[in-house]
């Protein structure tokens, strides 16, 4: 009767002690946070500025994981962006034109002259002057197709080629579109991460959501608008051959070309070839600098392939202008003076110094492969977060104390045991939250308060059952044992059902709702553990010491 093996006792206490140890850093939140920051900086190779002292504020052997505070508690900005994946189709298909053109030109003898027709943005229409050779021309173009690089669509080719009369229509295949979407979003994710890291804010959350969305949360930043400035610009840099310059934005550019506005001179438009010579993807470095007139500029360097392309092009086109295009606007259109072999250059324009710094950051981090559309943006001021934490703390303490008092009044000594278990319970929740690196949100605090209320439920079930068993059972020990035994199925059923809802909340919900689901779910686990094992162990130890003839619950 009423026996618990020694190893079980040790295990139960060990779990509790471990949980509390993991929870402890949260009691010294600011100190541990400062120390963690300093340690991270030292690892990155920084030193001095009192970093060592700051790091030593918290002993390195002690656990130092903290509960992350959510945006609603810490303040910061939240953005949900949708990657405009279709943007990429156009660039992809346009980039194929030079290749198709060069290949078909070599076959001029058999298929006649070729001409690019105006078309939808995501296809190419090429007319040949000898319609009877259309099938041959189409199969030649088909020969340019490459297999799709993706796991699910292996073996399919990246373009579809069809013919309509004397016109060849080239478009991306569906499999290629899917694979492109995947790459685009991954790339966008990576670039957003790099841009935010360049700015150097702490613990940003950048995650993919669904097929084409990216969730960005940056604590401590002033506003969502600021964040949008950093990540919202595509920074798509290209170098295109210039065909003409004019003031008519509706001028007919001719197929394969486009009209772009000038960045600085209003009313000036350039007609450029749509397929770029080199793009910003081939940049290896970009730095803010100054040109020979001492006005701010950005200097850049290409990688070897980019440098070769750029070198070849400048060698062949001395005397003709080329355009430096940034996000669809012509930054400048200098005339090529000489062959530029080294692959480095400078972008001049009417920039302010901060603009060049920003532009250099953007170019360095790489261009976003596609535009972003913002579906959701939230800014939470740090004061509001602090107010919520303060209010939450007070509410937690009051809830705690009233439940403790109430339990003692209702169950006496047994109530005290339940109270110790309840305190342990909250400690364990924090320990678990810190260990798994979960984020505490405002609804999460509500979840903890709710758990405080509900955690006693399992104990109440047991105590009520013991009361009942005392009426019929032989002696208190038997009553306690029966009480635990018979209450178990109710405890499990009741908590499993609640746990199911917590899991569903976690799976379906987002943001703050998730935070709530986590604390609720963990709260259920810890409260069942404390009720079934910890209070029981305390009661058993108490019973062994006192051996009371009668007990009152």
């Amino acid at each position: 009767m009423l026996q618990i093996d020694l190893w079980k006792r040790v295990l139960i206490w060990a779990v509790c002690a471990f949980g509390l140890l993991m929870a402890m850093p949260n009691a010294f939140y600011e100190r541990v946070e400062a120390s963690n920051d300093a340690v991270a900086e030292i690892e990155l190779g920084y030193s001095g500025n009192g970093l060592e002292e700051q790091a030593a504020m918290w002993p390195s052997w002690a656990p130092s994981s903290l509960v992350n505070l959510g945006l609603d508690l810490r303040g910061g900005a939240h953005l949900l962006a949708e990657v405009q994946v279709a943007d990429v189709y156009e660039a992809r298909i346009k980039a194929m034109w030079p290749e198709i053109r060069d290949m078909l030109r070599e076959e001029r003898a058999s298929i006649g002259t070729i001409r690019l027709q105006p078309s939808e943005v995501d296809e190419l229409r090429v007319r040949i002057s000898k319609p009877e050779e259309i099938d041959r021309a189409a199969s030649l173009v088909r020969g340019l197709a490459r297999p799709v690089v993706s796991l699910t669509a292996a073996g399919q080719s990246d373009i579809t080629v069809s013919s309509e009369g004397s016109t060849i229509v080239v478009a991306l295949s569906d499999a290629e579109k899917l694979a492109t979407d995947e790459r685009t979003v991954q790339q966008a994710l990576e670039i957003i991460r790099r841009r935010i890291d360049e700015v150097g804010t702490r613990e940003p959350t950048i995650q993919r959501q669904g097929s084409d969305r990216i969730l960005i949360q940056v604590p401590g930043i002033g506003s969502a608008a600021e964040l949008k400035d950093i990540i919202g610009t595509t920074a798509q840099l290209t170098f295109n051959p210039v065909i003409g310059r004019g003031t008519d934005k509706d001028a007919n550019p001719g197929p394969g070309n486009e009209v772009l506005p000038s960045l600085d001179d209003e009313g000036v438009y350039y007609t450029v070839e749509s397929a770029p010579v080199v793009t910003g993807e081939e940049l290896v470095d970009a730095q803010p600098s100054f040109d020979q007139n001492n006005s701010p500029a950005v200097s850049f360097r290409f990688n070897p392939t980019g440098a070769r392309k750029f070198g070849d092009y400048t060698a062949e086109n001395i005397g003709s202008p080329f355009a430096i295009v940034l996000d669809g606007e012509v930054v400048s259109a200098p005339v090529i003076q000489a062959h530029i072999p080294g692959g480095s250059g400078i972008i001049t324009g009417r920039f302010a110094v901060e603009e060049t710094t920003n532009l250099a950051v953007l170019l360095r981090a790489g261009a976003l492969p596609a535009g972003l559309e913002f579906l959701e943006e939230r800014t939470i001021g740090p004061e509001l977060g602090q107010d919520s934490i303060d209010a939450g703390k007070i509410a937690c303490i009051v809830a705690f104390v009233s439940v403790l008092v109430f339990m003692f009044l209702s169950y006496g000594t047994f109530g005290l045991f339940a109270n110790v278990a309840l305190i342990l319970n909250v400690g364990l929740i924090f320990g678990l939250l810190s260990t798994i690196g979960a984020t505490l949100t405002l609804p999460g605090i509500a979840g903890i308060v709710l758990t405080i209320g509900m955690a006693v439920d399992a104990n109440v079930l047991v105590f009520e059952r013991i009361r009942e068993e005392l009426k019929t059972a032989k002696g208190p020990a038997r009553a306690i044992e029966l009480g635990y035994e018979k209450a178990l199925s109710a405890i499990l059923d009741a908590n499993i059902t609640t746990f199911i809802t917590a899991v569903i909340l976690f799976a379906v919900g987002s943001g703050p709702v998730r935070g709530f689901a986590i604390t609720l779910g963990l709260g259920i686990l810890t409260s069942v553990f404390t009720a079934i094992f910890v209070t029981r162990l305390m009661i058993v130890i108490w019973y062994e010491r006192r051996r009371p003839k009668t007990i009152e619950v």
Partner: protein
């Protein structure tokens, strides 16, 4: 001397007027649905798109001045509410400004927000914007969808679980209680026009969990007593089981309410709606586990002959820890 919320050994008859209780519940549910369809919920921006701005100023707020400042911006439907809360300081004046989703915009623009901020700074120079939240109509539509899916999923999952652990009559009784609680909660939100946002969905699901918790504890006892007293009428078994678990039901509700009420009073206005939903849910959930779930079970009846092997899988499952 122990504090006892429920006298020792109660023998109350909970089914003396089944028509009355089910009638009251039914009537309230109809009322809730009428309110929902006539008045509708006061959806927050999570569900209908738009922008909310929370402002704070040391000067008293005159809502009409704010409104007048925003009129030239032509933003459509703008609501300005002053927020009062015991946790605020004396010179802390807070308002919530809600602006509808701007027509023809799938996404969110900072321009609108910037214009509003400039306009308000002109009339209250010390104003600060402690939170600004915008949700585009594209996302808000999806959020409604996922919310409804979440609630339905939770109810189905629970239905299946209880069906496996008990008998189908128990599952139906529990789900009737759940639907009752959810409908009444939505009814209260539409009747009092409390803002209904994403967090309230979390509250609804918690209510589902809590209400079940209560119902399952009663049902667990019913199952036990059905085996123990094979000759007693179902109605009396139910009454006995409810009376036996009554003390626990009330104790747990009271401790949970104690915690929730302290959060309601002291937790600040940001989560007050959320906490209100939970308080209401705990009260309704406690009521429904006795008066709805058990009453439905009584109406449906239960298979009583436990001695013969059952052909339902659920029964074998139920014997695991019985």
């Amino acid at each position: 001397m122990r504090l006892r919320l429920v006298p020792k050994d109660t023998k109350w008859d909970f089914f003396s007027r089944p028509v009355l209780w089910l009638g009251i519940s039914g009537f309230l549910m109809v009322l809730a649905m009428v309110s929902f369809f006539v008045q509708g919920l006061n959806y927050g921006i999570d569900f209908r798109g738009g922008t909310t701005i929370r402002t704070e100023s040391a000067q008293t707020v005159v809502a009409s001045d704010y409104r007048a400042a925003l009129v030239p911006l032509e933003l459509g439907d703008v609501s300005i509410t002053e927020v009062f809360d015991p946790t605020f300081e004396d010179n802390q004046f807070v308002t919530m400004i809600r602006i509808q989703a701007q027509e023809g915009q799938q996404s969110v623009t900072s321009d609108v927000v910037r214009n509003v901020q400039t306009a308000l700074q002109a009339i209250a120079p010390d104003i600060s914007f402690v939170s600004v939240e915008s949700v585009g109509p594209k996302v808000s539509g999806e959020l409604i969808q996922t919310a409804v899916i979440a609630v339905l999923l939770a109810i189905t999952a629970v239905l299946i679980y209880i069906w496996l652990r008990f008998e189908w009559q128990f599952a139906l009784g529990a789900v009737a209680a759940l639907v009752h609680d959810v409908v009444l909660t939505i009814g209260v939100f539409s009747e009092l026009q409390i803002r209904f946002d994403l967090a309230i969905i979390a509250a609804l699901l918690t209510i589902v969990g809590y209400s079940l918790n209560d119902t399952v504890v009663v049902f667990d006892r019913v199952r036990e007593n059905l085996r123990k007293f094979k000759k007693i009428e179902l109605k009396d078994v139910l009454n006995l089981s409810i009376n036996e678990t009554l003390s626990r039901t009330v104790m747990t509700s009271v401790t949970t309410l104690l915690a929730l009420i302290s959060l309601f009073v002291l937790g600040g206005d940001v989560i007050r709606g959320f906490v209100f939903a939970m308080i209401w849910g705990v009260i309704v959930g406690t009521y429904s586990s006795v008066f709805v779930a058990s009453a439905v079970l009584l109406k449906l009846g239960v298979k009583r002959d436990w001695s013969k092997p059952s052909n339902t899988g659920g029964n074998q499952f139920a014997n695991i820890d019985a």
